[in-house]
Structure formats: C-alpha cells, structure tokens
Symmetry: C2
Subunit: 579 residues, 2 copies
C-alpha cells in the first residue's frame, strides 16, 4: 500500500521524517495529487518562499508500472513566479522509482532554522536526511557527478542548481535521465526556488531492491498497454515525426503557420528557422556522434529526445526541446543552434526554466540590454544567472521581473509566467489556454496547437475567435484528468486525440491497474475537479477573472504575416469555467 | 472659468494640445479630480507604461487662493508600482500656479512614436510643447538649473530625473519649491515612470500675468482663513513641534513608542535614533548656516521644512523628511545624518521615492547585498539607481522587486508598495491603513498614528485590534474628502482633529470660495465617493479583498520591544468598506 512521505525541515532537532497513510488523498496521482495536497495544506496567502509553502512530488497513477510512456513525476507548490498554485512535471526515471519505493507522494514542508544544505536519501529500507554543505553552490551536473560516486547507478536524482539555492523565481527542479544527467526539468513556476527555500539540494531515489508496481489485473493491463503502444506507433506524429526530429519538428511547422514568436513576439516568422529546426538538429546529432532518437526513460517508445554533441563531438546537452530552441532562438533572433544548445546546457546546470529565461532575455533585448540576434550577449546573460550578478538576478526572477526592472510594456506573460513558443494571435486557441490556465501562460495545460495548426483532433481556424474556448476547455480538462494525473507523457495526446482506441486504451490501463471501471466521463470529471481545486486556490490567493487575460498589446498590435490581433473577447474567456 | 488642459503625446504630427470645459469633472479638485479622471478614462487593465495610461495633475479646490496651507498638487495615474490607481501629492508652488493659470487639471495622455524628449511650457497666453533632447539624462537639479536660465523666476517646474526616463517603478515627479529647487515630490507609486513613458521631462508653469484665484465671498473667505490659521498656530503640533523640528520631530516619539521600523522591520526601536532625530537635524541646520524652519511654498504657516547644509556649510538638500530619514536611517541601521541627507539629495536628483528606495535598500541588506548600518554601501546603491546599472534597476523597481530578485520573504509591502515609517504591529491602526488603502501601504491615506501614538483626535491603544478599523476608516474618508481634494497640507489634520473649529474653518473656506454650503457630512460623502471610485478601479484591475492584507509574517513574527504581532483579523479588514 502506498504511503505519504512527509519531511518537515523545521524541526528544532533537524528535519523530521514521517510516513503516513495516503488517507484522504487515496486514488490520486500526479497533478491531481499535488494540487489537492497544495490546496488543502498550503495557505493561499503565504509567501511562496516561507515555511508554510510545501513542495509535493507525486508519480502518476500509472507511473512505476511496466506500461509505456508513464514516467512523469509531478511537482506541486505555490509558485514564487505566479503567486498561484503550480504543477510542473518532468520525465526521466525519478517518478518510476518514487512509485517503486511505495510512495504516493513526497511532501517537503517547513524551513530549516539556518542555511544548512540538506540531501534526502530514500531507499527501500529507509529515509535519511543529511546535512551536506559541500554541495553548496554546485551546478546540477557537478552535483550529480558527485552524487553518482556516492549512490551509484541504481539511484535517480532530483536536484536544484545555483538558481534554486538563490531562490530565483525561474528556478527549476532537475531530474536525471537514464544516463544520470540532470536534463529532465520540472521547469515552470519556480519550484527550484521553493525547494531551495527548504534547504533541500538533492533527493536520492534508490531503486535497489524495488520492483515494478503490479497491476490488479496484469493480463488485461498488458493488453491495454499493447493496444496503447500500437496506436502510438501507428500515428504519424508519435510514430514518425517525434522520434525522427524530436519536439523541434515543430519549428518549421509553427514558423510556416506564422505563429512562431520572433523578436519578443514582434513577428510571427523567423528567417533563421531552418537553421535551428528539428531537421537540422537531427542531422548535426548524427554527424557529431550524438543521438537523434533517445528516450528520457526506459519505457518510452516515442523517444523524442536525443543527445547533442558540440563541434568537437563531445556531449554538450540532451537534444534541446522545441520550446528551448525557440525561446533562445527565434524569440531572441538567434539562429546559431550551437549557441542555443550551450545555453540549454548552462540552464540545465544552473537549474532554470528554459522558456522563462529565453523570454526574459528577449525582453532584456527589447529593453536594449543587447541586440536581437546577439548570441554571445545572450550566453553572457545566462552566465550571469549562474553567477547571481544583479543582471542575473533580474533574469532569474523571470520575464515579468525583467519587464518591471527595465520599464518595458511588451512583456508576454500571463499571471507572471512567460508565454511559450506559439503566438496567441496566430493560434488563438493556445491564447485561450495561456489566459485561462490556472498555471499562467502554459502550452502544456491545453495544447490547442493540435486543432489550430496540426490538424490533430479536429480543425479550428487558428486566426479567429470561434471555437477556441471550447477547444482549450476540452483539452485542459482532458490534460488535467487523463495526462497530468496518470503520469502519461503529454505527447501521447497526438495519437489519443485522433484515435479513440488509444484514448480508451489509456483509460483501460488505469482501470486494470487499479481495479476501477472509470469511463471517459469519469476522467473528464477528475480533470474538472483538478482545475476547480486549482482555481479555488488561486482565487483564495487573490486571483480574479481579470488575471485570465493576455497583456493588452496582444489585442492592439497586429502580428505579421497574418496581421492578426487576439480576438477572443473577455466575455468568452470568462465563459471558460462555465461547465 | 477653469478648463481642462489635455495634451495628447500620440499625435502623428507631434503632440496635440486641447483646452476643453471641465464638464463632468466640475466641482472636483485634487485627488477627487485625478482619481475620477483616471477611473473614467484609463482602462484598468492597461499597461501602466503604455499609451492608454494617463498622468493627471490637479490642484486642490482651495489651491491658488490666498488661503494658507493650500498649496498641494495631486498627480493621478495607474501605478506601475502597484498596478492600481494612484494619487500622490506634492507641495511647492506648482499647484498654485496651475490654478492661477486657470486649469482645473492637466491631462497627459498617449505616447510619442519615438524616444524624443519633450517639455511643456504653459503660460497665461498659451501652451507650447517643444522637443528638446538636450534634456535627456539630466538629473532634476541640473534640469531645473537649465530651465531657470530659460524661463526665469516666475516659473515653477514639474519634472522627472533619470529614474523617470528609465521608467523605474519607484520614479517620482518633482515639483520645485520657492527657491526653485526640485525638492517637493509626488513620490509614491511611480508617477515619474508614467510621465517618462509619455516622453515628458519637464513642465514649465509660468505665473507671469496671473493672479490669485478669487473666492466667491472674499470677506467671509478671509475670515475663515484667519480662524483656520489661528487654530493651526494654537495647536502644539502645528504651532510648535513641526515648525521647530520638522516632520522628524516624530523620530524620537515613534522610536519611544517602539513603532520605529528598524533593520527592515525586524525591531521596533533603533539605538541610533537620537543621532538622526529632528532635534539633531535642526541643531545642525542652524550651526551650518542652513534653516531649521522653512515653508515649501509662500502661504505655508506651519513651515515644517528646512535647508540642510553639508559639513562645508554648502546647500545639500532640503531638510530631509521624517519618512526619508527613517527609510535610510533606522530601517537600514544607518545613524549618519549626513549620509542620509546625501541620499535624500541624490534621490531628489534622480527622481525616486525616498520611502520606496530606503525600504528597497533595507531588503537588499536583508538579502546580504550589504550589511545593515553600512552607509557607504547604501550611498553606492543609490548611485547605481541614477546610473541605471542592473542593481540600480532592481532597486529602482521598488521594494517588492528587490524581494523578488533576491528571493526574500521579509518584504514589507502591500499591493506592491513599501510600508512607511511606522511598524503596523506597534501601531495597528496604521496597519489597517496600509492594508486597506487603495494606494497600497501609505501612511498619508489615513494617518492613524494620531490616535495610536500622538494622542491627537482621541486615543486608540496601538497594540490591540480594537477600534483600529473604525479609526483608519474615519481618517481615510476625511483625508480623501477634506485634505487630498482641497489642496490642504495633511499636517493641518493635527489641529483639525483636535479642534472642531479648525475643521469647520476649512469647510468654510471651501464654501465661501465656491459659493457652496457643504456640511461635514457632505465632505465625508465626498471622501467616501473618492475611495469608492478608486476601489472600483482597483477591482476592475484585478484586486480583491485578498490584497487588503499585510504580508503574512506580520501575523507571525513578534516585534520587539512590545513583542506584538498584527492582530486585526482578516474579517475585520474586510469590514473596512462596509459603510
């Protein structure tokens, strides 16, 4: 039976560990688990970096089973970036190991009395919390190297870099991949800062002696997994495009659609797109001895990741994701993929959200700190983040903070979080997601690009207002219920939206695993319930419908090449939560 | 008949000037005028630095008449610091001249197409708007020196320094005093940044050929003014304490009461208080050939200001105000009054709010940027603001921005604006004002220190919750109606609260000036209406009751020496607007 592992960092004799029954939280996984715990246990008006905030780690309902594509781990907290509730999830094996260790959730709470740095070691036979100031100031790469020497290949690691220690609002939480590199990040919303505020630098999850989570009906579970996997293989996006080119397969597609935010959301197309496209990256990876196809954990069959080598054919970073490439690429006017990959590496090392930082750099460029296209200046800015210089502090505090510091109006954020790689004027469905999501601007919360651009799961004209709220609402509900709470990778959605049998197979996996008989309606009800819980937290934290808005300039400034403004009305946005 | 002067900086052929009847805004003055115009004309969700925001200047209902103590000018805008509506007011003769020129309000709107710097010259016979890039980058002192050469002694000036040009959220709007020094600032909320975003560096108000505003019944008006003035002379605070020691007469009093925020609101008493007290300042001023008693405009009879000379007996700055001395003094642990006066001078020159910046420095000290008490480091930080370095940008963006950049929990702000010089735990009535004011943390909105500490206008135990909401509510209503909208200096309140005949005389002045027959109830109704208008704007901008709160740590962290936490409940705070 799964337990909650609760670690209170406030104890007067040092941190205290408690195992307790799952209780009221039984049956929840991933985001449903983290958001429910945060909503119930964290005072909405507390300071995100104070003792009352918590960091909750939870594997999905399917994570830890042998099922494919179920490796995600959710991290929940009150966000220092948005001031609202936050769930960010990451790949890599950490989620699987947490589940194999028998924990439905790990809750970090309280705050140490001084600035001692701690590591938490979780093994099958017990939990240790160790003060270890030798870890202070280490980047994620050095930290994991050091930890590997101590804890070996059976361990997975969750950690923060310098940014988390410095409590930067854009600090991420890193999870190691199968090669024990800190490349899979719960990036958005500043979880790294909250973890840093608890004095926790490293969590070691040792899989030694553990075994897979066993489904209630293993045979039926196996059948469902098989049907699910076959569907993914059969779909053009999950079976071909993503394995071949990774998420950056989107670069040319989104650029072609005129929805590729360029020069801080000034234009919808980037002339350097080809040079930083998935096709170019895959070619380079092959040429330099990296890998153009790679899974972030063992049971991945989409294998959208890769291994990126530098000009000297040495490992530099994992294959940079589409969003990362865009944030530092078109959005900053940079078409040098090696420079972008270097920034990806540095940001993984310092532990910051690549989307937030790319957008922050672009706003700094808008402010005249550097010229658009100046890769060297951008790299220097990233270095300043790691060094914690004043400019690094501004950037590390996120895009909105850069706008505030430099007095800039054109700051593409919602609820304080920067927009990702789709201009909401040229893909208005994603604009609805940015505006209404409890998370702040976030593409993963309801990826309307499917029907707006990719012709997946139907077709909704991207340039008009019609149908966008319904599109985003359905996707947000399904994502919260079926994806983020089960531990499934979001990328399965391409197949699940187009192929009813794939979606059914996912539900069948949950049912046969847990002995349930959920219908699609039940899953939707769970998704609605998660969104409602999160929204109520945000309302109690001071958010209103007025925060469900894009910045005004998206309504006034037409985006080339379609010369289109954001047309979804405020009233339409306000209808989002009428269900 | 008074007119509105509307200047649109957006015109495609340059700025456009329009005079128009007061219309719907007739009968309003000061804050009632600015808040009504902002609420009616500025979209609540617009970006504070965008073309849709406006800066509204309005003299009070009595400003420009020969009546004493009526020199205030109100400045209204949507605040880049708080995101809400803002009124900040300043002394000096500018308000009087604007009224003498026949303008009930000056409205700056729109935004120039490029970064040209403009000056606006308003004379009896017309308005000129002149591009003048030679003003770019000048501090207020150099700017006014230059302008004086051009426009002479009959002119008063309203201007911004480098901070406003850089659109810093703590940038102030400077008004010259009688000696043509830019020492009287509409400090709070970032009006300087909004003015800067409109490309306006300097407003010249030429009194040549103008005359006093004439009361409808000059004889009765004169009688009321006489009664009013005699009352002020007779009261111990307005007749003796303020003239002798300026507002810093409060230093020893508030310190004695244990309500003097020290080391970023960590303690309630500062051991160096005596060294920076009003008594010490007055002594130094006399010794060095400055002035310990001085009025910021001709018709002031309280004369709380002074002239502060440096160690070489040269003019350094006007007598630093209590709030300024505290912000850089006890709050930063600095007891060197010359260092504080130098920072006051620099901040007037750069054009930033001294309260916001002192608090910002203290939070930076909490973050370890410098040690508490290190005056040299504090001076260096202020210099960085003027230079616009990254650290200067962080500080210039205000206290909350410093907290965000450095990941600090103990950040004493409400609605993004820093608290002034009274700890809300040791003077809980001012805590209610901080929490509930539409302005963010602001002592002038409802100066509960009167009954909490000074035994003026009654007595309410400062350490308990009882009676604080009622105290603050009454003061906030009266301040909005009778003080901020008439152009009266807030300091008349000491006498008006204790002596009914003084309050009646103030109402009589308004009535005899404008041919009205307002009662005290009518004035209260005006005050309520102003607060309601402002609150509705804020609600439309996304504020809720959740923003009417002090930071959580004021409820948990006991303040020495009284070891008291903030005790007014959320429910009590929420009852504030029930009237």
């Amino acid at each position: 039976m799964s337990q909650l592992l609760r670690i209170n960092m406030s104890g007067s004799n040092g941190p205290e560990v408690k195992e307790e029954p799952v209780g009221d939280y039984a049956g929840l996984g991933g985001r449903a688990m983290t958001s429910t715990i945060v909503a119930k246990e964290v005072p909405p008006l507390c300071h995100p970096l104070g003792a009352e905030n918590k960091v909750v780690f939870a594997s999905g309902l399917l994570t830890g089973t042998p099922a494919n594509m179920t490796g995600r781990i959710s991290v929940g907290f009150k966000s220092p970036l948005t001031g609202g509730i936050k769930e960010a999830n990451a790949g890599g094996p950490a989620g699987q190991v947490l589940a194999r260790l028998g924990y439905a959730a790990l809750i970090l709470e309280g705050q140490p009395q001084d600035d001692t740095i701690y590591k938490i070691v979780i093994k099958k036979d017990g939990v240790q919390i160790l003060a270890d100031n030798s870890l202070k100031g280490l980047g994620n790469y050095d930290l994991i190297d050091k930890a590997l020497g101590e804890y070996g290949e059976e361990a997975s690691f969750i950690s923060i870099g310098q940014a988390g220690e410095m409590k930067m609002a854009a600090a991420s939480i890193a999870c190691t991949d199968e090669e024990k590199r800190p490349t899979r990040h719960a990036g958005r919303g500043g979880g790294g800062a909250v973890m840093g505020s608890k004095g926790v630098k490293l969590i070691v999850l040792d899989r030694a002696g553990t075994s897979s989570v066993v489904a209630k009906d293993m045979s039926a579970f196996g059948d469902a997994n098989k049907a699910f996997s076959e569907g993914l293989k059969a779909h053009a996006v999950t079976g071909q495009a993503l394995p071949a080119y990774g998420s950056s397969v989107l670069t040319n597609i989104i650029n072609e659609a005129g929805a590729y935010p360029t020069h801080n959301f000034r234009f919808g197309q980037f002339e350097g797109a080809e040079k930083i496209s998935g096709e170019t990256i895959a070619e380079l990876e092959e040429k330099r001895g990296g890998e153009s196809e790679h899974g972030c954990h063992r049971d991945c069959i989409i294998r959208c990741s890769g291994i990126y080598h530098d000009k000297n054919n040495q490992y530099l970073t994992k294959q940079p994701e589409y969003e990362t490439v865009w944030a530092h690429g078109g959005n900053c006017g940079i078409d040098d993929i090696d420079a972008i990959a270097l920034m990806d590496r540095m940001e993984d090392d310092f532990g910051v959200d690549t989307i937030e930082i790319g957008c922050a750099i672009a706003v700094a460029m808008e402010a005249g700190v550097a010229k658009f296209g100046d890769a060297e200046a951008a790299i220097k800015m990233v270095k300043e983040i790691g060094a914690g210089t004043p400019l690094g502090r501004i950037l590390g505090a996120g895009t909105a903070a850069v706008g505030k510091a430099f007095g800039i109006e054109r700051v593409p954020v919602v609820k304080g979080q920067s927009m990702p790689a789709y201009d909401p004027r040229a893909a208005q469905g994603i604009g609805v997601t940015y505006a209404t999501s409890t998370m702040g601007a976030d593409h993963t919360a309801g990826y309307s690009i499917t029907a707006n651009v990719l012709d997946v799961g139907g077709k909704v004209d991207p340039l008009g207002a019609a149908g966008q709220v319904e599109l985003s609402r359905n996707l947000q509900i399904t994502t919260a219920g079926a994806i983020d709470s089960t531990g499934l990778c979001l990328f399965v959605a391409f197949a699940a939206l187009d192929m009813p049998e794939v979606y059914q197979a996912a539900i069948d996996m949950v049912n046969t695993c847990h002995g349930l008989s959920l219908t699609a309606d039940d899953v939707a009800a769970l998704g609605k319930s998660v969104l409602k819980t999160e929204r109520e937290f945000n309302i109690a934290a001071g958010f209103t419908a007025k925060h469900d808005r894009l910045p005004e300039y998206f309504k006034n400034e037409a985006l080339p090449p379609h010369d289109v403004t954001f047309k979804v009305t405020d009233a339409d946005l306000d209808s989002f939560y009428n269900w």
